[in-house]
């Protein structure tokens, strides 16, 4: 099995208009063996602004393994609405505005939560993991 993640950043307004791209194959921790578990991509829709929606719960996944979380704010709400992403004891990571996405490693010892800031917001998420 193979799972790949490619990141491309295009910055035409900065530093000479550069663009770069990196690709990684998702491997199990410390090995050359591909990740073999995946939650699928879930779509969450919240009629009302909702705090602390759990995506990853502390203890659900093994610590010190290779887990990867993808989240995208799929809302078409106003530009000042956002999905606030937090880790651990509500430590803020950042705000995903409509159309924004994130891709991060996940530690099995911390919660990952999302809070929607307005009515009628939606997001997608999926976790590649080792169990």
């Amino acid at each position: 099995m193979a799972t790949t993640a490619t990141f491309t950043l295009s910055t035409p307004d900065f530093t000479g208009g550069g663009s770069f791209s990196v690709t990684t194959t998702l491997l199990k921790a410390g090995t050359s063996t591909g990740i073999d578990q995946f939650t699928g991509i879930a779509r969450v829709y919240k009629e009302a602004a909702t705090a602390d929606i759990s995506l990853v719960a502390n203890g659900d996944y093994t610590d010190d393994k290779s887990h990867r979380l993808y989240v995208k704010n799929t809302s078409t709400t106003a530009a000042d609405t956002f999905v606030l992403m937090e880790v651990g004891s509500n430590e803020p990571i950042g705000r995903l505005f409509p159309g924004d996405w994130m891709y991060i490693p996940v530690d099995g010892t911390e919660d990952i939560k999302a809070t929607t800031s307005a009515v009628g917001m939606s997001f997608e998420w999926g976790l590649f993991h080792e169990g």
């Binding site: 193979a2 799972t3 990141f7 491997l27 921790a29 530009a79 994130m102 991060i104 590649f128």
Partner: protein, 137 residues
């Protein structure tokens, strides 16, 4: 012209093969037309010794809260056993997780907490960049 960040995810783990290709235009908080106006460039840092909670991005250097900063970090090593752990907050050190061989991450950042890294081997190379807004919205 605008700065864009694109992710392409492909996987054959499930029977229904996954193929995601999503692009985001990086605009300021509260706007979908005004582009982020600062970029650090892609920094490459070599650490001769293993690091413990070493600050690579300082919150004090950026406006915070009503911002749409974005952070990119990559473990630029070729060893499968080399890890770069990414933490939020230099005091609490809440771990996001570990980047293994050639792994990268990209995430929004509120600018309220430092971003630190820890490494487990000598001779580790880390890449990082911040695309940010100069003034909070």
């Amino acid at each position: 012209m605008a700065t864009t960040a694109t992710i392409s995810l492909t996987s054959d783990i499930t029977g229904d093969a996954l193929s995601i290709n999503e692009s985001a235009t990086l605009t300021k908080s509260g706007s979908n037309v005004t582009n982020l106006d600062q970029f650090t460039g892609v920094n490459t840092v070599y650490y001769a010794a293993a690091q413990t909670e070493t600050n690579i991005i300082a919150a004090a250097d950026y406006p915070d809260t009503t911002v749409a900063h974005k952070v990119y970090i990559r473990n630029a090593n070729t060893s499968t056993t080399c890890t770069v752990e990414v933490d939020i907050d230099s005091t609490a050190n809440e771990p996001l997780g570990k980047l293994y061989y050639n792994d990268w991450c990209f995430f929004p950042w509120m600018g309220t907490k430092d971003i630190d890294i820890s490494t487990n081997e000598v001779g580790v190379t880390v890449e990082f960049a911040v695309i940010s807004q100069s003034v909070a919205s």
